[in-house]
């Protein structure tokens, strides 16, 4: 800020000068902040078509959203690949899935694109809608067996009969429990609740006996709402969550009213605490600090939770609770690698090699062990089983069993595939808070439905 350069004592400045300096500074600051923003927002030129892209670097470039340990593991995979094939790979961390998406879309406009993009399944349609993606099935080496993937994983990532992107890091939501707190409250930690009703009863026991301050928490993220829909066997959007056609309707079956009724009751009676929108870290903190006895979060958090609670309390994993006794299964989500179309042809062979390498059972086994994301090919699961990995690490077994028990042919288990995903996601998250704090659940759900449908309408029409 130019104005802050002024020294504390500015007695020698004539009033006249000061006045014009002040006015000048104010005008500049005003104009500056305003137009800078306007300029940023004006960047989208929206040039579609079959443009020829240029690569970022000589080496293969991969944009990903894996921070910390998981990012290190990814770097290791890259250097192993280089040792094996001689092809150098730059793994470039983009901070978040949202940033990968933004940068990808911006890159499509600018013409310099990365060779592989790690896209969260929530944003899959938005990337596909650019028409700038080459399906990985065309790129993978001929001897690659696309049937190697678990059925429900492959189903989600197959668009129009082709494997459009390469599934890689996949997880679902499970419920972690504090075994010590359960015992203290007279609950059986070996028989954790599996329905929302059971979660309420367990929460009451935990809170009424002053074992923990609240019963349960989870980040306010659309993913958990999707899980509730999916377990109930209901799709959130019509046309099979957008997998069989353009979605136009946000579905609100009776079970959803039950869900919000329960959620509101939990909140009103202080059995549930809202950690905030997309507040993954805060939710985990509440569990680790023993403020809540149960936590719903990603299977990918298992490793971190074991480390953070070591010596404090025993943590255990149990399946995600469901609204009723119907348990169809979790939504298949997670991220996958997309490859842009229109790069120089000679690069696709190397990209195909790298994709195949990342799906290799040995790589998948290591990836699972170090991150907690579940293995996505049958052969890697077989290998882990032969090492007795799941017996020694029962928390990981819970996650995988939940996945394998899912009714994969039920469209509800496929995550929403929709262009304006971020807008629908934000709507569900914001409206959820509104609903649980209003006296009229029905009109709140109706408002959520209406707003989500407006977003679908304005994107597709």
């Amino acid at each position: 800020m130019p104005a802050s350069d002024s020294p504390l004592g500015n007695a020698d400045m004539s009033d006249d000068t000061r006045r014009s300096v002040l006015r000048g500074a104010a005008t500049l600051l005003g104009a500056g902040s305003m137009t800078a923003l306007a300029g940023c927002a004006g960047g989208g030129d929206g040039s579609g078509g079959d443009s020829q892209f240029s690569p970022i670097a000589e080496e293969l470039t991969v944009w990903h959203a894996m921070g910390g340990e998981n990012g290190e593991t990814l770097n290791q995979i890259a250097s192993d690949f280089e040792d094996e094939t001689g092809t150098a790979v730059n793994m470039e961390f983009q901070d978040s899935y949202e940033n990968v998406l933004t940068n990808t879309l911006a890159a499509f406009d600018s013409g310099n694109v990365s060779d592989m993009l790690q896209v969260d399944s929530l944003f899959a349609q938005q990337v596909l809608d650019t028409g700038q993606i080459r399906s990985v099935e065309e790129i993978l080496p001929d001897d690659f067996d696309a049937d190697a993937f678990l059925d429900n994983v492959a189903d989600f990532f197959t668009i129009d009969g082709e494997l459009s992107s390469m599934p890689f890091n996949n997880s679902n939501a499970i419920m972690y429990i504090n075994r010590d707190a359960f015992e203290e409250a007279g609950l059986d930690p070996d028989d954790p609740p599996t329905t929302i009703e059971g979660v309420r009863a367990a929460s009451e026991a935990l809170v009424n006996q002053d074992v923990t301050e609240f019963g349960i928490t989870w980040p306010n993220h659309v993913w958990f709402v999707e899980h509730f829909y999916s377990f109930e066997g209901e799709t959130m959007l019509n046309n099979e969550n957008g997998h069989s056609g353009t979605p136009t309707e946000f579905r609100t079956p009776d079970a959803v009213y039950d869900l919000y009724e329960w959620w509101k009751g939990m909140s009103d009676d202080e059995l549930y605490t809202n950690p905030g929108i997309e507040a993954w870290g805060e939710a985990t903190s509440l569990f680790v600090e023993e403020r809540v006895g149960m936590l719903m979060t990603s299977t990918g958090s298992a490793g971190g939770l074991i480390a953070d609670t070591e010596g404090v309390f025993d943590v255990d994993a149990s399946p995600h609770p469901s609204i009723s006794d119907t348990r169809v299964g979790p939504v298949i989500g997670g991220a996958s690698f997309y490859v842009p179309d229109g790069l120089p042809e000679e690069r696709y062979e190397d990209i195909g090699q790298l994709l195949a390498f990342m799906a290799d059972p040995a790589v998948q086994v290591d990836w699972h062990k170090q991150t907690g994301y579940y293995p996505i090919t049958e052969s890697s699961i077989e290998e882990l089983e032969s090492e007795n990995w799941f017996e020694e690490n029962p928390m990981y077994a819970t996650a995988l069993e939940q996945l394998q028990a899912a009714e994969t042919d039920n469209p509800a288990t496929s995550r929403i595939l929709v262009g304006p995903a971020r807008a629908v996601q934000t709507t569900v998250q914001n409206k959820s808070v509104e609903i649980i704090n209003s006296d009229d659940i029905a009109s709140g759900i109706e408002a959520m439905k209406q707003q989500a449908e407006e977003e679908l309408d304005s994107y597709y029409n």
């Binding site: 104005a3 007695a11 006249d16 000061r18 300029g39 989208g44 929206g46 809202n274 998250q429």
Partner: protein, 294 residues
Amino acid sequence: MSKREVFDSRLGAALLLLPTIVVSFLFLYYPAALAVRTSFFDSTFGRSDEFIGIENYVSLATDPGYRFSLAITVLFGLLVVAGVMVFSLYVTFLIHEVDYGESVYLISAIWPYALPPAVAALVFTFIIHPTLGVLTGPIESLGFAVDWFNTGWQAFVVITVAAIWKQIGYNVIFMVAAMNNIPEALTETAELDGVSGLRRLISIYIPIMSPTLFFLVIINTIYAFFSTFAFVDLMTGGGPSSSTNILIFDLYQEGFSFFNFGMASTKSVLLFIIVGILMYIQFQLTEEYSHYGA
């Protein structure tokens, strides 16, 4: 301002100004003009722009969500500017009056200003986090339930307080400078006449400081409308129930989360106009009331 001829040739002056002009044009005026153009288009990534005339403006004018955003932004702006000015003035006056340890107080008052907005937002979140916050316990022991993740008006208050807290340091710097410039003789005369401390602040210091205060009102207004983005983004995400969805955040979300560049540009053009009008009013008002020396 007196007319000074620093340069002999106009060409020389123009040459020296050129870098500034080029940068301003490239990064300010040209993008701003583009934003105005984009506001008449339906524009997003990966599709070609479609000219839709004033449709974006019409839909905003009839959008109750946007009107609500506008209303809370104005309220937020008023509260932040008033809060910052009043509190900073009082703090400055106390620092001015204190006999010992003036610099210690000054540094403590300025400290929050030294934090980048994003860091300040995170620090403030953990001060007043509904379950993890250090201040939450003491406040709740007074019988008040802190629940700003769920309760709209509480979130609005938290954001407002955070925004005021962050900006006090900046104001204190300028106010201390202005107050220290007031001739000691005036203070002594007032004291001899038995004028109380607060009266002295209101009737003597404030009028003398008015040019500085005017400048700060402008800066604080800009701050409230634009620089408070980090607090909203990191602390509330515009919620709950849109209660902290101020225009700058709304615009950002439209553009960079939902990629509706046409609509986002429309919002930024409207914000430009709104703040422009506010600035004009402020200049008119202060023209009348500011004292620029004898």
